[in-house]
């Protein structure tokens, strides 16, 4: 790939970001390639030594806050022709609820995800508390002379402790997975904004 092709692909990949952010990155990578060529590498080899355009784009996306991307999209629309502005105003009753519901759907998705996590942890606490309660009840009953019921409750305690430990590990794994999922969704939304710009 030539230097120009690399920079063109990068520019296309970053389209939708603030122009200043794009230009700064293009200047940086262009300088990097020039310095490699000056060192004696061929243009092809210099470009091949760089990170792939895809990985630069995803790293850039993860660094730029969503608010900045949205703001850029909104402000870049100012140069629209008059008819488009009129259409947007006339269409407001349609697109505002649509946009609103889009964000509400995303929000509810987050709520659902974290409710599952919350529910699992609540289960852990529940089982944990009942294990303590059955141990206490078992000991008290044994002291009062209800030996068999006491033993039964203490064995219930052992089962519950086992379950608690199992659920703690499950909950930790699920919490981590959900945190990753949340991140993936966030980066997905950012990508959506950028793709639309192309």
């Amino acid at each position: 790939m030539s230097k120009q092709e690399f920079l063109d692909q990068l520019r296309a990949g970053l389209a939708g970001l603030p122009q200043q952010d794009i230009n700064e990155r293009l200047t940086f990578y262009s300088e990097m390639i020039d310095d490699r060529i000056e060192e004696g590498l061929t243009e092809e080899a210099a470009v091949a030594g760089m990170d792939s355009v895809d990985s630069i784009v995803s790293q850039t996306l993860s660094e730029i806050p969503l608010s900045k991307i949205v703001k850029e999209r909104v402000s870049s629309k100012r140069s629209m022709p008059a008819w488009a502005i009129i259409l947007i105003i006339i269409g407001a009753p349609v697109w505002i609820p649509l946009l609103l519901s889009f964000f509400i759907i995303i929000l509810s998705f987050y709520v659902v995800i974290w409710s599952i996590v919350f529910a699992l942890w609540a289960t852990v606490v529940g089982i944990g508390l009942s294990s303590v309660a059955s141990l206490a009840a078992g000991v008290i009953l044994m002291c009062l002379g209800h030996g068999i019921t006491g033993v039964l409750l203490i064995s219930a305690f052992l089962v519950l402790v086992g379950l608690t430990i199992l659920f703690v590990f499950l909950s930790i794994a699920l919490t981590k997975a959900m945190a990753i999922l949340t991140g993936v969704i966030a980066s997905g939304i950012k990508r959506m904004f950028i793709r639309k710009e192309k």
């Binding site: 300088e31 310095d35 000056e38 990170d51 790293q59 660094e63």
Partner: protein
């Protein structure tokens, strides 16, 4: 190496690479290469972060008919290196604590 640990180290390494002389992107990567590998996009992020933290300043100068960005360390940056050295003493004492049994067996 642990990602978080490497991230912290890279910041200081970049500062160290420009400590004695102003330097430019490709030279920073080249100077660090024998010690720690770093990709261009990582360097870009770090330079931006250090600039925002006022640990370095940037200027463009002409080189071979094109512009090249040179990075210069600030007092804040020098202080960051000094802090790192102090922190490292603590880390070394923790290291000795962690490995004290291994050394006892040798």
């Amino acid at each position: 190496m642990d990602v978080q640990l490497k991230r912290g180290l890279l910041d200081v390494c970049v500062l160290a690479a420009i400590k004695n002389d102003d330097s430019y992107g490709y030279k920073i990567i080249k100077d660090m290469k024998p010690y720690i590998e770093m990709s261009e996009s990582t360097l870009y992020t770090i330079l931006k972060r250090l600039e925002a933290a006022r640990m370095l300043t940037v200027r463009s100068a002409e080189h071979e008919g094109r512009l090249r960005k040179y990075y210069r360390i600030t007092d804040v940056g020098v202080k960051r290196i000094d802090d790192f050295k102090d922190e490292w003493k603590e880390i070394m004492s923790i290291y000795r604590f962690v490995t004290r049994e291994d050394q006892g067996n040798e």
